[in-house]
């Protein structure tokens, strides 16, 4: 049996009386790449944000590496150190240079000496292929470069799991590929990944599992070939026909 790194059991979440997540069950094994898609407002972001507790769930259980996510701050901090997250809006720190953006968490969370942290930062910048931008500020980079810095920043904490929330949907078309290439490379290296995206080409290349969400439910979960060639659910079919035809 492969190792379970994320487990969601009957997770429910409400915003006031709006039911965003309904009885979500999900198991992610080590090294798995799961792509999540679904219409806007279906709860995709909310679900992955519950995994590093940027949002709190109200019912059910979430385990990450065997640690249960509760209000316990110690557990939350441990889990956040192991789970990296990449946002749609990059969320780089505009007042810090690229190098400082990346070395910040290693220095303050891992207590790494500054020099060592900067070396780590440089290795990850090389990995995302923009070492020459190290001393610039985020505002001086293109969107694609910013998102690659954001990926490097997450990787610098050496996470076991990476969460991506629509990492390419704020990018101009010509920059999408450079970010997806980095993500594909990461997948090939065996990273466990949960990716919310509508880039179906990417999904077909890397996903082991596809998840379709609608109105707070996981409506369909299948292997990519099943999912694309033979979807079971009507809503999935409708969604796929919309997204693949345009």
């Amino acid at each position: 049996m492969s190792e379970q790194v994320i487990t969601l059991e009957k997770v429910n979440k409400w915003y006031d009386d709006f039911h965003v997540l309904k009885d979500i069950d999900l198991v992610v094994n080590k090294g798995q790449k799961i792509v999540i898609c679904g219409p806007s407002g279906s709860g995709k972001s909310t679900m992955i944000r519950c995994i590093n507790r940027l949002e709190a769930h109200q019912e059910g259980k979430i385990f990450v590496h065997g640690t249960e996510l509760t209000g316990d701050l110690k557990n939350i901090d441990t889990i956040r150190r192991e789970v990296g997250m990449v946002f749609q809006q990059f969320n780089l720190f505009p007042h810090l240079s690229v190098l400082d953006n990346i070395s910040l968490a290693p220095i303050w969370v891992k207590k790494m000496p500054k020099k060592e942290a900067e070396e780590v930062a440089m290795t990850y910048l090389e990995k995302v292929k923009i070492p020459e931008q190290a001393l610039k500020f985020p505002g001086q980079l293109s969107g694609g470069q910013q998102q690659r810095v954001a990926i490097a920043r997450s990787l610098a904490m050496n996470p076991k799991i990476m969460l991506f929330d629509e990492p390419t949907s704020a990018l101009d078309p010509e920059m999408i590929k450079e970010v997806l290439d980095v993500m594909i490379q990461l997948a090939e290296e065996g990273m466990t990944m949960l990716v919310v995206t509508h880039e179906m080409g990417f999904a077909k290349t890397v996903a082991d599992q596809m998840i379709f969400m609608d109105e707070g439910n996981i409506v369909e979960q299948a292997s990519p070939s099943e999912f694309f060639n033979n979807p079971k659910n009507d809503r999935t079919k409708l969604f796929l026909s919309q997204i693949l035809n345009h």
Binding site: N52, L54, R81, Q89, P94, H95, W108, F137, S154
Partner: protein, 367 residues
Amino acid sequence: MSSIVYSNKFLIWSKKNLFSSWINTLLTVLSIYFIYEVSVFFLDWAVFKADFLTNFRGERIIDRTFCSKNIEPGSYGACWAIIHVRFYQFMYGFYPAAEVWRVNLVFFLLPFALVAIFFDKVPFRKYLLYFTLAFPFIAFYLLYGGPSLTTVGTNKWGGLLVTLFLGVTGIALAFPLSIALALGRRSNMPIISLLCVIFIEFIRGVPLITLLFTANVMLPLFLPDGVSPDNLLRALVAVTLFQSAYMAEAIRGGLQAIPRGQIEAARSMGLTYWQSTRKIVLPQALRISIPPIVNTSIGLFKDTSLVLIIGLFDLLGIGRAALADMTWTKLYYEVYVFVAIVFFIFCFAMSRYSLYLEKKLKTDNSS
């Protein structure tokens, strides 16, 4: 050549802005006439027809009866001798003359303590910042005394010394307090946030003068019997609390401008609340809030003159004391104009600094 181009530019500009229609032309002419009359009158009074150290007969002015305007009918020039005679008090109050070098040293060191805060590109900024941190202790030791320096009680302090002391110390102490209040107001903990809201809104809803009276009367009640904090300290407490409420609102504005994603990114990497506040939120929020902070500070600096109500002799208080002196009485204009000019110099400097910052923030953000 270049002056021709320049004057040409000026002509075009003035045609467009000052003489674009007959009503605009009329207003321009009237305004110029008004400005001309006022400045001629003021310069005549303050400079050309004024007495400085001697009167029109060349006698040294030793009291008001020597002022030209009190001797010669129809003469109206200012009699600045009162400022000269009282200059020491205007600067230092009743600080003993033998020890006054200590105040002068503090006045001299103050710009060095401030420069690293105000400008981020000064040479040796790091060392200057250490000096800034040490300065309050150095200044207190010098002004008040301590080992090997005789004590000069704050009841002897006065004039510009008290004005600057209350202004600078009040603002400096209010700064950390206001950060705490602004963060507290946005806290998830309802009790903390409620306390901060009550504090801020209470202080902002009350005139400073009420706080000064309250501090003067109430502070001794909170302290053990026999401990009676001096008047200056009481005023400082009131001024600090007052300023911290206004600064907190300025900083809250800055905090609100920081996108939620910044905090989420920091937290998702494992930074604690305090780490993300210190490293991510505050540096960005404070940069935005400095102009409004400076603006409230200008207000506070002027408001320190209210302390004369509780018996302190700040710059204005010393001026009033000078007027109460029978040998110099009735020279209101000289005293108030002088006090106004001194306040103006400091406030204008702060205002220019705030403009400079706003410009700098704009260029920084567009890069």
